[in-house]
Structures are given as C-alpha cells and as structure tokens.
Point group: C2
Chain length 292, copies 2
C-alpha cells in the first residue's frame, strides 16, 4: 500500500482516514485526510465523486477536518473529501520556518523555481499529478473514488490554490469554489512575498499563478462553474489581501458565465465563516459532479 | 452590563458572543459563549428558547463552539446555545492543576464540600442559580432569551453534568440529552476520584450526584425526555468510565418513559462523534421546547 493509515475515525456515518505517504515530488512524507461517505463503504458500492479541499496559511489537513463540517453534507450526498497538506514538511530548508506566511504550511500550491525551495516545494505537480495517480491507483483506497469526477475548493491561500489549479488544469476538475481566496496574489502583500520567494523577481511569470489573471484569459461565454464567498467582516479582505473585486472585474471583462461571487455580511476569515457555508459549497460541487 | 464581550462572531446566520462575567458564586471571572440564532436578532424578535451545553474534561467554552456543530441546526430552528466553562479558573488552589481529570476544567458540575475546593468549585449553584439569573436578567442579552424554555445537554463529564443537573432540577429544563456521559460516576475511576476529592469519603453523599442513582429514583411512568448517544468505539466506554448500561438498567427498573439510549456503531469519544449527532440532539431539545 502506498499509504500509511494513522487513524480511522467514524464521523457523519462515514470514515475519516488520516493518511501519510512518501512523495517523490516533494521528497518528503505528505499527510492527507480522506473522508469516505457512507455510500462508498457499502458492499459493492460504486466509486464516488471527490471534492478536494485546499487549506489556508498555517493549516494542516486536521483543521478543516475538525472545524469545516464539509462531511455533514458530503455524507448525505455521497461525496468523498480530500484534505491535502499545505506544503512539504521536514525539508529543513533555510528560512522555511521563519514566517507563518511563507515556507512551511505556506506553499501557495505552486512549483517553486528558486533556491532553496525548488528542492521540494512542488505542490502544483504534487496535487495535479502525483497525488491523483497514487490515490486513484491505490489498492486499498482507489476503488472508493471515481477519478473522472473531481472538484476542488479551498480557503484563503487554499482558495487561491483551488482557483488557480482549476484554471490551469480544467481537464482535472468539474467545478471550483473558494472561501475568502487570495484572488489576485500578484497585487497583495502575501502574494508578492510568496511569489517573490518561490518564483523570483520576474513579475510576468507570477501572472500564470494568479486567479484574476487566469480568469481574465478565459474566453467569452466560458462556463467557469465558480462559486466564491467572502465575508465583509474579514480583516484580510479589508487589508487588501484578498481582492475579490478584481476577480469579479476580470470575470465581467472576460465575459465568462457561471461565475458567482457573494459577499457575506459580517462574516470573518475563520472556520466560523467557512463552516456556515460548507453545505452550500458541497452542493455546488455535487451539482457539477452529478450528485444533485 | 454584567458581561464583558470579548468577541462577536457571525456564524450560521447568527452571532456567537464570547462573554465573561465576575461570578459571586465561584469568586472568579467566568467565561461563556452564547450563540444567538438569526431569528433572535431580527427587529422586535420574540425571545428564543435556549439549549445549554456542558463540556467535557479539559475543555473550555471554545471547543464545542468550534467543533460541535450545534449552531448548524440551532440556526435553522431558532434556538440559542449557551456554552459555560468547565470549572472556575484562577483560584490557584493547591493541586488544582495537577491532573487533567480533577480540579481546573474538571469540576464535575457539583458544589464541592471539601477543602480547598469548596472555596469556589460551586458549579451546580453557579449553573442553576447565578448564571440564569445574571443572563436572563441582563440588560443587553436577556431580551433575546425565553427563560421559561431551557433544555440541557453535554458531553462526557458534561453529559454527567447535564443528566444530573436535569434530574436534580427538573423545574429548570424541558429536556436533556448527553453524548458519551459519565453515567454512573460513583462506580467509575473518574467519578470516584472527583467525588472523593470534592465531596469527601461518604459514598452515600455521592449518590445524589450520580445520574444512574437519580434516574433510579424517578417514579414509574415519569416522562424523562432523555436522549443519550454512546459510540461503540469509544475507548472510555470500553474502559468502564461511562457505564451507560447501568443508566439504561436504572431507567428500566424505575419504569420511566421517554428514555432513549443509542449505541452508535464505531464512533469514538471525540468531537467527530458529537458533531455527527449534533443536529439530532438539537432537534430533541427543539421538540421539547416547542420549536418542532
């Protein structure tokens, strides 16, 4: 088996599996949590669709598994959930742990080109190539999952990750959603710091990893199947780290359809916000995965 | 105002208020969280019923607010939630912090009679007298709450607390439920340690704070409006700390009605278990509070 199972927890009628595997892409062990809904666990069950959730800065697969409540609606609809980690851990690179918004638990879900991070900070390749290959091909867990039906979502840095991986790899995902995403990272302090450190000083190269830039390149009439929620009480939104208004402008200017941005009155940046709309984001994915 | 508001968080359409007040009963500041559902916050809204949740060993009001998922269904039904703390904090009594299952965050929701804990460990009086008086009479928050419609629930030590406070003070609560309660504390290691320390060596005196003993004293035909869930994968259940089978036996022997004990296959003792059945426990309370 490619995966080591660290824990199996019964929740919402299904099983939450705390897994780890040795990644050849990051050259480290990678933790992930996988939630299998009750329908997947029945004898001779058909494989179920999968929603991948990418976490925000400082998080591990644990935070959203405990506080996001995606399993509530996913269990009812028959949707599996995958919570990958936010970066490689254990590379012991210089500067890797100096800040909470760069390095460990802050990969920004891109492939770094700069030293020393290019050694293992290859989260785009990990998430779009290695992890699907290993997971869907796994002798123990692959049978539960329908690899042709995958959607992606995420929060904050993970919202950036979900939007950009979706827009860069449309063939991999049926839909996308995001909670309080860093929607225009080339124009906010978090993104400038991360892209400068991982990708170097060429700002043109950054644009290929910016959701607003990528959405602006879509063709008119393209159905982007994108749901974004942002709380109006979110301090990071107020500080200009998220810039959802730029994403919306890009959607309008490109003339795409299926784009929905909702400002949620009074909500902050926390899991108290996310969990409030988790049911709806699961339903958004479920609709595009044929479950609703 | 009697309460200091440390945070106001929008969640599930309502507000989670992180409060603190100076308790005359415990002689300490006491933290609590209060969730007000959207219906309570409308202009000229009628007061809403309240479900009190008592936490388990080591917890504060924060844990279940973040991980319990009660607000999900409470927000839909128009039910307020109150999360008190698990003990006084800051008394600096000898031995108060020596163990995780006794002293701070481990009050067992009784009034201690033994030194040094009798100084402030008076959680039964605090929860049944002072806190309702202060909260329902508060100029800012009292208007949101219908003091005539209160139910109680809890987890583990808090399940013991909910069951015993309910059975000792039937006039205060419309119904009770519990997740993995310490259901017969006079006969398990946790309870023997706590009752010995707080109440002294007279085991007869302990019985007045034991849910199994108290339920056994109910009259035949008494509708006890009691729902209890226990996971069959719960290690504390397997170790004999919970003893729900004794509670069930007492219910049968007394001939009460309205008693429901459910063994939930494979679930453990964690919030992954609790959150899975939070909707149903909220509905149990809502039914007896006239909301369903």
């Amino acid at each position: 088996m490619a995966f080591t199972t660290k824990a199996t927890i019964t929740t919402f009628g299904g099983k939450l599996l705390k897994l780890s595997h040795a990644s050849t892409t990051t050259t480290t062990p990678m933790a992930l949590n996988l939630y299998l809904p009750p329908t997947a666990l029945r004898p001779n069950a058909a494989p179920v669709p999968l929603l991948i959730y990418l976490s925000g800065l400082t998080c591990s697969p644990e935070n959203c598994s405990e506080k996001g409540f995606f399993a509530h609606r996913a269990s009812q609809l028959g949707l599996a959930l995958l919570y990958p980690d936010t970066s490689p851990r254990g590379l012991n690179l210089p500067g890797e742990k100096d800040a909470w918004d760069f390095g460990e638990a802050a990969s920004f879900y891109i492939d770094a080109t700069q030293e020393p991070f290019r050694a293992g900070y290859k989260m785009e390749t990990y998430l779009t190539q290695e992890l699907p290959e290993v997971l869907f091909g796994d002798a123990e867990f692959g049978k539960y999952l329908d690899k042709s039906k995958v959607s992606i979502t995420g929060h904050s840095m993970g919202g950036h990750g979900a939007l950009t991986l979706y827009l860069k790899h449309r063939e991999l995902y049926k839909s996308v959603s995001a909670f309080a995403p860093i929607a225009n990272p080339t124009k906010c302090p978090w993104g400038e710091k991360a892209f400068g450190g991982y990708l170097g000083g060429d700002r043109e190269a950054w644009k290929g990893h910016d959701a607003t830039e990528l959405l602006g390149r879509c063709e008119a009439g393209d159905d982007v199947k994108m749901l974004v929620d942002v709380g109006t009480g979110d301090n990071f939104y107020k500080q200009g780290q998220l810039l959802p208004e730029n994403l919306e402008k890009a959607a309008k200017e490109a003339g795409v359809k299926g784009f929905q941005l909702r400002y949620q009155e009074g909500y902050d940046h926390s899991y108290y916000f996310m969990s409030s709309f988790a049911d709806e984001h699961v339903e958004h994915a479920a609709k595009h995965l044929g479950l609703l």
